[in-house]
Amino acid sequence: MYWNEEAECMGKEEKEKLQLERLQKTVKHAYENVEFYRKRFDEIGLKPEDIKTLKDIEKIPFTTKSDLREAYPLGLLAVPREEIVEVHASSGTTGKPTVTAYTQNDLDIWGECIARGLKMTGAEQDYIIQNAYGYGLFTGGFGIHHGGNKMGAITIPISAGNTQRQLDTMVDFQSDILTCTPSYAMYLGESREKAGIPLEDINLKTGIHGAEMWTDEMRKRIEASLGIKTYNIYGLTEVMGPGVAQECGEQNGMHIQDDQFYPEIINSETGETLDYGEKGELVLTSLTKTGMPILRFRTKDLTSLIGEKCECGRTTVRMTRITGRSDDMLKIKGVMVFPSQIEKALLKVSGISPNYMIHVTRPNILDEVEVKVEASKELFSDEMKEMEKVEKQIQASIRSEIGIRVDVTLCEPESLPRSEGKAVRVIDERNL
């Protein structure tokens, strides 16, 4: 029932003692080996020895995504290069990508976290995992893979895409677990129905889905269309990848592997630490990673923590479903998009920065994006051909900036909604 009962069901006192020990070790390791952290500590006169209690973690300055970006690619290594065995990176859509480097120890930790999650879904060694997360720099594919290996299950590295092959594999191999993004799971479910493959012909029991926000509505559709029970998984490249937290069978919050990652919730405006139950921004500190330890990373994800022991018996702290972001980032089709990127793309086309609005919907399974741009003399022509060309240029420019296709609509000046004088940049109607 548990992959690691000792760690997952540890008593509060014992857990805190372990966390403090590991935190002190990580802080010392980071301070001594990473110039970035040393400078940050020295600036405020903080020494690793000052971390005497878990509460003292609040003295440590936050690390942000832009800190990681500035250290691109391997500026935050805490070990000699020869100890690094793998790297992953987030999509570099907002500039330089953020890179995470792993030692063998770190990959083992990653595998351990995923294995705990697999076990939460009831997986056993003889299970076949159909891993339809993308393999590559993205952490999804390899993360699950390492966990499957750790458990000793059979992992099919089918990666994302090629729907026919996914369906064939489900039927031929009788896969037990499907791992992929929720939107792809939904697509596979609908494809199965369309292809007329009866549920009896597949053997899927569970699905582990994450990397994008999803609703209960989606969960019900996935569960019905594939005949499975689904589990929400959470993680981020900057900290490790998927597996930082995952739901158990209770489906009541995601268990954070808090012997490996120390969670805090902060008020994203003031930076002040909030209590369990209060909603705020999740901040994570790695407790065991050695290649690239990360201290107080601001995830920008809004959630709250649950401290009580779960019905499943695990004592690990749980996080509730992510309800939004403390910045203006949007996740569209699994890709991170910032409104500022749209602005940049528009500037490239016209040399001016017209007013615009991003309208995101999910009419069926997949996200659709319409970018409305207020036309101007520079963008207007009396010839339809030219107007279409302008729209196509804007579309291409946005695509090269954010990597996804959007619909572009020109509209009249001053016609886009404004609120208190400020333009409304995003209308998200996906009900996430």
Binding site: A375, S376, K377, F380, S381, D382, E383, M384, K385, M387, T409, L410, C411, E412, P413, E414, S415
Partner: protein, 143 residues
């Protein structure tokens, strides 16, 4: 010899064309000819008016995007094959038509055709060397 046409960006939204026409009416501007090109999302209103300067100023003041550009206006016999003979001139020289609209006036028995071509300079020179009747802005004002 070209005539200045104005074009207005019209979002595909209730009442927008009327608003543009209203603006012109209030300024006492006479519309000689007009056409609308449209897609599902927006349209382009093209106008030949009595006073371009005034029209542009008043439309822009009301928040419209307006552009002025050259078109060729010819008079063709108001009878079968009337337009065809003019188009044949361009066809022969391989000059593509961007758009065209036509109207009739009570003051003449000819049909008046407004055209925008891909290569305006070349279009004018071939027209001038044909027996087509090109109209200038003074003539348009008289209609």
């Amino acid at each position: 010899m070209t005539v200045k046409q104005i074009s207005v960006f019209i979002e595909n939204k209730e009442g927008r064309i009327k608003k543009a026409i209203d603006t012109l009416a209030k300024q006492n501007i006479n519309i000689r000819a007009l056409s609308i090109a449209d897609t599902t999302k927006y349209g382009i209103l093209r106008l030949i008016v009595s006073d371009n300067q005034k029209a542009i100023e008043s439309l822009e003041e009301d928040g419209f995007i307006v552009k002025e550009n050259d078109v060729i206006i010819v008079a063709v016999p108001d009878e079968p094959n009337g337009l065809n003979s003019t188009l044949a001139i361009f066809d022969e020289k391989g000059i593509n038509l961007e758009y065209l609209y036509a109207f009739v006036s009570s003051k003449t028995d000819e049909a008046i055709v407004v055209m925008r071509l891909e290569n305006m300079e070349k279009a004018i020179s071939v027209l001038e060397n044909s027996d087509a009747k090109i109209l200038d802005s003074d003539y348009i004002k008289e209609i």
